[in-house]
Amino acid sequence: MTAGVIGKAIRRKEDPALIQGKGLYTDDMKMAGMLHAAFVRSPFGKARIVGIDASAAMAIEGVHAVYTADDVRDLGPLLAQVAIGALRPLLADGVVNHVGEAVAMVVASDRYIAQDGTKAVDVDYEPLEAVVDLEDAASDRVIANDSNESNVIHVWEVGDADAVAAARASEGAIEVSVKMINQRLIPTAIEPRSALADYNAGYGSVTLYSSSQIPHAVAGAIGKTFGLTSNNVRVIAPEVGGGFGAKLNYYAEEALVTFASRELGSPVKWTETRREASVATIHGRGWVGTATIIGTSDGKILAYELDALSDMGAYTQNFTVAIPLLGQYVAPGQYDIPIHWKIGCVVTNAPTTDAYRGAGRPEAIFYLERIIDAFARQIGMDPADVRKKNFFEEFPAATAAGMLMDSGDYRANLDKLLELADYQGLRQKQEEARKEGRNIGIGLSTYVEVCGFGPSALAEGGFSWAAYGLPAAFNGSGLVRVNPDGTATVMIGTGPSGQGHETTWAQIVSDALGISVDNVQVRHGDTRDSPMGIGTFGSRSLAVDGSATAQAAEKVRTKAARVAAHMLEASPDDIEFADGGAHVAGSPDKTVTWAEIAEVSYQPHRLPEGMEGGMEANAVFSPANATWPFGSHLAVVEVDDTTGDVVLMDYFAMDDCGNVINPMIVDGQVHGGLAQGISQALFEHAIFDEDGNLLTGSLLDYPIPTAGDLPSFQLDRTTTPTDVNPMGVKGIGEAGTIGSAQTVVNAVIDAVAHMGVTHIDMPLRPKRVWQAIHRNGG
């Protein structure tokens, strides 16, 4: 063991290249003879395509081709894991169903000419009535996508409606109900999507660079689309500048540049413009629903009910319909309470929704934790006490959503948060400020997350990868190789987009082998070189692929111990690894270096009798259960009731992701998650008009959070390891987002409740806060 590598805040190995601007992204890739694609996109929420005239575009010097649905119909619609509802054609086929839908692809000698070409394609549209409002769409007054019979394409439902009815009828029951919107968001990675395909007819193979979280899955999907075996498709996700779930799809543009490269015999690249990123990449959230708590005046919750609708957008893509199911898994949160939870999946004339940081879980926890706060206010009880009164206290805990949560200690976590924030002190300060006419608010939320996907049983519930040509069940792998010079190369099947895998995985392998972190190089994202893996999403990489890598490293260690023992004429049981080599326990002077072990390993005649040459091992891991991280957050806000302006003064987060490999990276993940959750609470909103036009289609009107908008976060942790994986780790990528939006809203309501305000829909922009206060005569 290299002492202290696990749990150490080692600086990220990724950063020197990135902060010097030397990291290579898909758009940095250039190939000889490369052409550029650009897309003609629908300006209508819904319209019939009467005709497309590309002659003027084709007449532009430098334009090589213009493709429409007629050219690509055979390649079929985009694949989806949960194929309920109309799938997306690669190019709009006779009708467009949302603003931004791709209608034609122009391929030209440079990207400027390609853009000019898109402006010269004349598309004759006959506009049709669109529907974007969720409740309006659910009524089927207008069918959004005529391939569906009803806009409501599925309903997820769990729990016990009878138990809720019984609670409602019980004596002394207090019922609190609030209708709330969890608004549609645009993920907005700093690096927009980009894809570069080189289809080589001579080799019968394709290489596709793509800014993706799921390179192996994209390779499988490209193989299915183009009839190629997996060993003839190479997908490379080089540096990826943020994904947040939005790059967890096989996208039409990936197929279309591959198609164009095949047709034209040249590499073809497309890089999304920022404006395209607002309409062509998936959106997230988009729920409306009524949450209800039935309880008693002593804070006991008798039942929780949610009746909601979720916006699918116009087409079903990868996990679109399954996103609310992820919310369902965590519907009861940390509470041992009966529930009845129902959500309809509704098609609208808007871009498709799919996984966005948290994916269903932030929405589910938002409704639960908002209504618990409203209940606490109704009965006049401290919101922390109401939560404590209803916690699961024993684990494993079987929830009312049919899940089994393996581990947790919710009370200790919340108590530690309240201590960190000096909750009682804050309440006193709030009271004093109130006397001075200042509106300070304190908001609380707890959460559980389900992640680390995951258990093979999930494949039956809709979470499968079969549609993209991969094994159905989730899995992860890691290959650890010690090179002849004693350094290690680790190859993993993940698709990181900023999560620090190269550092964290180096720590795991360094810990097992005693090779320094600097000498462990982690490779990912190239399907030709890296072992099978399904990618990075759902806070799963460490729990699954990390566990596989730890297992692989353990195999290498076992073998290396035998080699070292052979070299040192000792027993393998007495070999210890440290400081770049192996020694006999108790005799640190009897040492062989990793270079010496490796040199012997690659010469089989010098190995013990019967041992195979080489020094590498692969492992594939599929956990028995998901992991269940949890935590509690607290926000302090001040509201200017004259203007409605909200200032987030302080934010405290107490997260529990089990064991921690690199605390700095974990803190960084929490910071980013908080920023996005807080931003949903205060800033972001994808706003459409009734015709389906996106009114927030540029960063001028769609504010993404910056460090300047946020306070310095105060973080701490509790540590409750899981036993579903060998390292006891749970996942931290989405926790910050899942815990934060409702924490901020609860704080704002706490600040203005004395003026009669009970709820304000997000984002809590000043105008909404002011209107809510004003409406109540405050």
Binding site: D116, T643, G644, V646, L682, I687, L695, W770, Q771
Partner: protein, 287 residues
Amino acid sequence: MFPRQFEYVAPASLDEALSALASTPGAKVMSGGQSLIPMMKLRLFSPGTVIDIGRIDGLADIVEKDDHISIGALVRHNQTASDPTVAAHAKALSQAAGWTGDHQVRNRGTTCGAMAHADVAADQPAAAIALGATMMARSSSGQREIAASDFFVDALTSALSEDEILVELRVPKASNGSRSAYDKLGRRGGHTDYAVAGIAAWVNVGDDGSVTDARIGVTGVGTRPTLAEAAAASLIGTDGGEESIRAAAGLVTDGITVIEDLYGSVEYKTHLAQVFTERALQQALAG
């Protein structure tokens, strides 16, 4: 995000720039490029030629003159915001420049560029009109002065002719009794981003404490930065106390057509204009 093809020229002198502008129909002048380039990338605006004045010497200085402060065409927002002379004589402009855009924009964008761009929700134009500033517009045939209050014609439209460059902003120096302040609510709350509503207040206070003169510049709520004349007039001759401030605030949108947008209804923006009129006047009168 790909502009149409355009010609780019970067003249070394102002005379060269002016003659290029005179001889190139449809050319557009660029200083910091923080508004022009995004608009071109979105193809909202596609000039045939961009004349980059960024390499011309002698335009990047703030100079204190006898009766005014001269702010050159290439003075960046951050320069305006951090200049002690501007802060001493034109606090409203100093504050408005400091709350323009974000750090990157403030390091590249220019005060004169923000004037010439004439965005409906820009901060510094409100300060310029409240301070009674003068725009110095030059063409190859000479130079003319345009009062700031006449400069902002409509949304994204200034009084500059096609062949003119805004070479300098002249802000009158403060006398003993004159003071100013700017306050706003930004789109992300606080002082961030474009103004949902922003008010620049300038007052002159006599020896007896009464308000002898006042100007109030309004931005964000209408189609152009505008002087609130009735509000300012109501303040003149008063003691500048709470009641007179409130009375002035109540008149601030008189004559202004308040426009609803994503950030506020007409009612809300009118209310904000009144609130920030009170706040800016309180700050200005407090000195």
